[in-house]
């Protein structure tokens, strides 16, 4: 490494930048997945009741809902509670006056499903119950969120692959310079009867060392920025759930260091192959 320090520095910086961006995309995807899962878990079916029902009808409908497969919890939401919730959402405590003093909302049941897959069947079943004039759930919201996650995952993967290829090329160029500087040594080693593995090992170590150094720099930078970004996003966009640093630290370390080692190893193997054919 001593003989081509600029190329070595360039290789380490390329790995740092590449792995920084790779881990960045990985963290975004991890957070999107966490948010998508949370949204999915929070999806409820709202069953709005006809206006002319009796208490007996209410109990009857509640019982029917509870018997639907996959229903975890059923909660009655009176029209007054509904209005309160609406006032909270629109941040308007005088909504009733705006509506002419009359609450137009119906009573409803808020139904929690046992699992995300149960939401649609529950919705279909609830719609068929007499006394319910409308049922809704977050149709499309989860699907759109997952579509966004998928798009980002694919885009991230494409960028990651490009960055990894760039890192491997730079490592290979750096190792190639070391190999050229030690070409005679390699030839003599081979003529003395050294095995390919014996010749390859020091270059392999050098490549992996470049990879790990780049990975450590990327990881440090990433974790520093992540904790600050997480604090900022949590403070400004309260509905977005950001995974705490303690939760992503371990897997991010394994991901980044593993990628650094792998890129370093691949980058060292490629340029050596030609020189081993002696």
């Amino acid at each position: 490494m001593r003989g081509n320090s600029w190329m070595t520095v360039a290789a380490i910086l390329t790995i740092t930048i590449s792995l920084f961006l790779c881990t960045f995309f990985w963290l975004i995807i991890a957070n999107l997945n966490a948010n998508a899962n949370k949204v999915e878990e929070d999806v409820r079916v709202m069953a709005y009741l006809d206006f002319d029902l009796t208490q007996r009808d209410y109990r009857n409908i509640e019982t029917q809902i509870k018997f639907i497969s996959g229903v975890k919890n059923v909660e009655f939401v009176s029209k007054d509670q509904g209005l309160e919730s609406l006032e909270g959402r629109f941040n308007d405590s005088n909504l009733l006056a705006t509506l002419g003093g009359k609450n137009p909302l119906p009573d409803s049941f808020s139904i929690t499903a046992a699992g995300a897959d149960d939401v649609k069947p529950i919705y279909d079943a609830v719609k068929k119950i007499d006394g319910i004039y409308e049922a809704t759930y977050g149709a499309g919201t989860v699907e759109r969120l997952f579509a966004l996650t998928d798009t980002l995952r694919q885009a991230g993967l494409a960028v990651m692959i490009l960055l990894c290829v760039a890192a491997v090329v730079l490592i290979a160029l750096s190792i190639r310079l070391t190999i050229l500087a030690r070409k005679k040594e390699i030839m003599v080693m081979k003529w003395c009867g050294a095995t390919d593995a014996f010749v390859r090992w020091p270059f392999f170590l050098e490549g992996m060392m470049l990879g790990v150094l780049g990975a450590l720099l990327a990881l440090g930078l990433e974790m520093l920025l992540y904790s600050q970004a997480a604090a900022y996003i949590s403070a400004t966009v309260s509905f977005v759930q950001i995974l705490p640093l303690s939760q992503v630290w371990g897997s991010a370390t394994v991901f980044t260091l593993g990628a650094g080692l792998l890129l370093g190893a691949i980058g060292s193997v490629i340029p050596l192959a030609r020189f081993l054919k002696v």
Binding site: K184, E185, M187, V188, M189, K190, W191, C192, G193, A194, T195, D196, F198, V278
Partner: protein, 226 residues
């Protein structure tokens, strides 16, 4: 029979025909001079024999096996049983005498304790005792060639190839080197040496293979043929 060549030929990529129709056999324990003018094909033949180059025609058989068909582990085994001395020494310029000789033992993964014992003993044998820690570039040409010989023979090869080893040496140093080779040969190592030094060939009276323009024109025991 240790080595056999059958209709051996080599044409380089630039179209130059370096060797053609070489048929020879080398037995265990022989000391052979390859002679001929510059460009006769001596170095090419040496390179084909220790498989630095592959033939474009014919065969090189070592222990009855074609070198072209050797597997990677077989090539490693062949090299571990061969030693090579080059005219330009091919030493590691930045390393000490000890490191240059130890290099051959490290390459075949010998333990450090063994390396520490064997290198000084070998240096004593080639007349470089006590010079272990000197940088090879501070040695004379003859001394550097001795380091190269020490590196080539420290793994006790069955066969030693030497390509013009006395080419850049003065007559006295050449003499010393040839005596060293004769001693190594007397211990059972087969020796194939390319040279155009008529005096050495005349004095040694060994088997002489003479090449001219890539063809073998003589294979006799005795002195210089050209």
């Amino acid at each position: 029979m240790l080595i056999q060549t059958v209709n051996l030929g080599k044409v380089y990529k630039n179209g130059i025909a370096a060797l053609a129709d070489i048929n020879l056999t080398i037995d265990f324990g022989e000391f052979i001079f390859l002679t001929g003018a510059s460009g006769a094909g001596k170095s090419t033949l040496i390179r084909l024999l220790f498989r630095e180059e592959l033939p474009t025609a014919g065969q090189v058989l070592i222990g009855g096996r074609s070198v072209v068909r050797l597997t990677t582990p077989e090539i490693v085994r062949l090299r571990r049983n061969s030693g090579v001395v080059f005219q330009d020494f091919r030493l590691m310029e930045s390393c000490s005498v000890f490191d240059n000789v130890a290099f051959a033992l490290k390459a075949v993964e010998r333990p450090w304790n063994e390396i520490k014992m064997r290198v000084p003993a070998m240096l004593e044998r080639v007349g470089l005792a006590g010079r272990e820690h000197e940088n090879v570039m501070h040695l004379s040409g003859g001394e550097q060639q001795r380091v190269a010989v020490a590196r080539a023979i420290i793994n006790n090869p069955l066969i030693l190839f030497a390509d013009e080893p006395t080419g850049d040496l003065d007559p006295k140093t050449s003499d010393e080197l040839i005596h060293l080779f004769a001693d190594i040969n007397a211990e059972g190592t087969t020796l194939v040496m390319a040279t155009h030094d008529k005096d050495i060939v005349e004095r040694m009276q060994r088997r002489v293979i003479t090449l001219e323009r890539g063809r073998m024109i003589g294979d006799t025991v005795g002195g210089w043929q050209l």
